[in-house]
């Protein structure tokens, strides 16, 4: 999923976070150093995104590349070194992505395992109108396929809509959309989540306290995501948002539809990012042409962006410090709130407004980092959460899916290093995850159960 694109404020939009891995890093280190000298030259440097070998997730666009208009010559010469440096730093960035993905999955799995609410079936989203309670297998399959088609088409429509908005520079609209959706996500879903968790653990909490807590949480979250904030706090908020989104998905998607949707989304992701006319690709290219950062609110970035108005030498010194700048991309998600089936909340993520500012008045240092769309986070967590919720092999299956997703992420990042342009992050991981889920559930589980009952070890 390209996390990038799916910020739509529209309520009908389902969560459209597409996760795409984008290498937020600018071109390889040599250009980095060159950039130091060249940066004296002009603003162009500021917009340069270093692209490290990391692959960009399908979210569209290979952003980093186009911004390097400043030193094209140097880049050609130093390409080799760049590649090396790219790969050398690649491991660190992979880990920088591993940690948040792992955290998100842990939160989702922990919640699924402990809070009953998210595994009860209380109705479905409006985007999946066909029920799966049918008597025959064929009918059920048909219904899930139809659900998938509807969901995917909604996502496509929203994405195209977003791209059009972006193309025609309706920034205010997009911003408003994203702010609205993140507002909804931060307040309403947190409220529901907190309520359920408190119910599960039988903790009494009065309304004033609850109101205070949620208000603080939501307000700080809004500030962190859409404006400036400490990097780790931003990352934490992004992770929490992704987890909440994933939980909603897990609750409201019927089983077979969920699996088919996961498969279809990864195919769509692949197409949307790699095809020349794909919406996500167009978004990335447009952003690159305009030398603008792509909606920060939709992407999780492990790179740092130093947005400080400092003199050049200072920024050079700062480069060495690694900070992760998380751009969270909020996917638009339409959720049906549990109580009101007809109200749909569309969540959109608003791009971080600081970006345009920083490019002008500050020297933007982007450390090499990888960007991963938030939609990717969400769908990874949905896969693992569904595995935890519905698999009868319990933890083995969950663990297997977890490892499969991490390996898929590794491979995707490797491909990013090789291809150096935006790549879809979903397909490989989701494919591995699905394969491992179904095979572990059906094949490994009986084997391990039998072994365990005889206490044999392999």
């Amino acid at each position: 999923m390209i996390t990038f694109m799916n910020n739509s404020d529209s309520e009908e939009e389902p969560c459209n976070e597409r996760t795409s891995l984008m290498s937020a890093e600018s071109p390889p280190v040599p250009s980095y150093q060159d950039g130091l000298q060249a940066s004296q030259a002009g603003e162009a440097q500021a917009h340069r995104k270093r692209r490290t070998g990391s692959s960009r997730s399908p979210n569209n666009i290979t952003d980093g590349e186009t911004s390097d208009s400043g030193v094209p010559v140097r880049e050609g010469a130093l390409e080799n070194e760049e590649e090396e440096l790219t790969l050398k730093y690649g491991a660190k960035h992979v880990i920088m992505l591993f940690v948040p993905v792992t955290l998100c999955m842990i939160v989702v799995v922990a919640t699924i395992k402990s809070v009953r609410f998210y595994t009860e079936k209380n109705g479905q989203l409006i985007y999946t109108p066909f029920t799966e309670d049918t008597p025959s297998v064929g009918q059920r399959l048909l219904n899930s396929v139809l659900n998938t088609i509807i969901m995917i088409s909604v996502i496509v429509v929203m994405t195209v809509f977003l791209v059009l908005l972006y193309k025609y520079r309706c920034y205010k609209f997009i911003h408003g959309w994203l702010i609205l959706s993140s507002l909804m996500l931060l307040f309403l879903f947190t409220y529901i989540y907190l309520g359920e968790v408190l119910k599960t653990y039988n903790v009494a909490m009065d309304y004033p306290t609850l109101f205070l807590v949620i208000w603080n949480f939501g307000a700080v979250g809004m500030i962190c995501i859409h404006w400036k904030g400490p990097l780790q706090l931003q990352q934490a908020y992004l992770i929490m948002i992704s987890a909440l989104m994933a939980l909603v998905f897990i609750k409201y998607l019927p089983e077979w539809s969920a699996w088919v949707i996961l498969g279809a989304i990864s195919i769509y992701d692949l197409m949307a990012v790699l095809c020349p006319k794909g919406p996500l690709r167009m978004l990335v290219e447009t952003a690159q042409e305009r030398n603008e950062p792509i909606f920060p609110a939709l992407i999780y970035s492990s790179a740092m962006i130093w947005t400080v108005g400092m003199a050049k030498p200072d920024t050079a010194a700062r480069r060495s410090s690694q900070q992760a700048w998380d751009a969270a991309e909020d996917g638009r998600e339409n959720h049906r709130s549990p109580s009101h089936t007809d109200s749909q909340v569309s969540e959109t993520r608003s791009p971080i407004p600081t970006r345009p500012i920083t490019s002008f008045e500050e020297f933007e240092e982007e450390e090499r980092g990888v960007k991963l769309g938030l939609g990717d986070f969400i769908f990874y967590s949905v896969l693992v959460g569904k595995a935890a919720a519905t698999a009868s092999g319990d933890w083995n299956t969950t663990l297997a899916c977890f490892v499969a997703i991490l390996i898929g992420l590794c491979l995707t990042l490797l491909l990013l290093a090789v291809f150096k342009k935006a790549l879809p992050a979903l397909p490989i991981s989701i494919t591995f995850g699905l394969i491992f889920y179904f095979s572990t559930d059906n094949l490994v589980r009986p084997f391990m159960d039998t072994l365990a009952s005889h206490q044999l070890y392999i």
Partner: protein
């Protein structure tokens, strides 16, 4: 203890974490294939025939052991290629991680995954209510499972080191020794619930493997003494 190993030695270096996860993945794939074979065998046979089922299980276990070792070998090949790539890409011409470290990490990866798969359902059930061994089985089920898992994890780590060393220096007897040891340990678990028959040999084998791996990694009694006495 295995988790402690992870935290202290692996968590610092991102490259090692990747190798660890990849190692776990390879073990998982081998488990998948072996359970596929077992599943096919079981489906194709008579479910009511007890000795046949037991025999099939034993066959499945042995086959799985062989597959695990085969995948360890494949992983070794992959890591060799990766090392060449890393050397080519590094600045100063030498790889950021040595093959021994990789062997160690790969072993830990295998071990963690196998341990996790063996233990985690048990742990989850242990959180709930119940009595151990109520049907006349041994009451030490959890304890012995825990010890067995721990010994397996350590063994996988040592086998990783030995195996890679054997492949590096083309000493086939080392590799066969590892395979035989693995088969022996798995076979000894067939003696469960006669725990003396399985735990004791496993620990002995682990001690043997530990000293062997230690010696191979360049240690010696002197090093050990210095380390224990905290000399500089």
């Amino acid at each position: 203890p295995a988790f402690g190993l992870f935290v202290f030695t692996i968590a610092r270096d991102p490259l090692r974490i990747i190798i660890l996860i990849a190692g776990a993945f390879f073990w998982l794939v081998s488990l998948l294939l072996s359970s596929l074979i077992w599943f096919i065998a079981v489906k194709g046979s008579d479910p009511r025939d007890e000795p046949l089922q037991k025999g099939l299980l034993i066959f499945g276990v042995m086959f799985s052991v062989l597959l695990q070792e085969a995948f360890r070998f494949l992983y070794y090949k992959l890591l060799r290629k990766a090392i060449e790539g890393l050397v080519a890409l590094s600045e100063d011409g030498c790889s950021p991680i040595s093959i021994q470290q990789m062997a160690y990490v790969a072993g830990v990866g295998f071990g963690l995954m196998s341990g996790a798969f063996s233990m985690i359902n048990l742990l989850a059930d242990a959180l709930g209510p119940g009595t151990v061994g109520i049907h006349g089985d041994s009451q030490l089920y959890f304890l012995t499972s825990a010890f067995m898992t721990m010994v397996l994890i350590f063994l996988h780590t040592f086998w990783g080191i030995l195996f890679f060393h054997g492949c590096e220096h083309r000493r086939w007897w080392e590799i066969t020794a590892v395979v035989v040891m693995h088969l022996a340990v798995s076979g000894s678990t067939f003696f469960n619930p006669l725990y003396v028959g399985s735990l004791v040999p496993s620990y002995l084998l682990m001690a043997v493997a530990a000293t062997w791996a230690y010696v191979l990694s360049g240690g010696s009694a002197q090093n050990l003494r210095r380390f224990l006495l905290c000399k500089s």
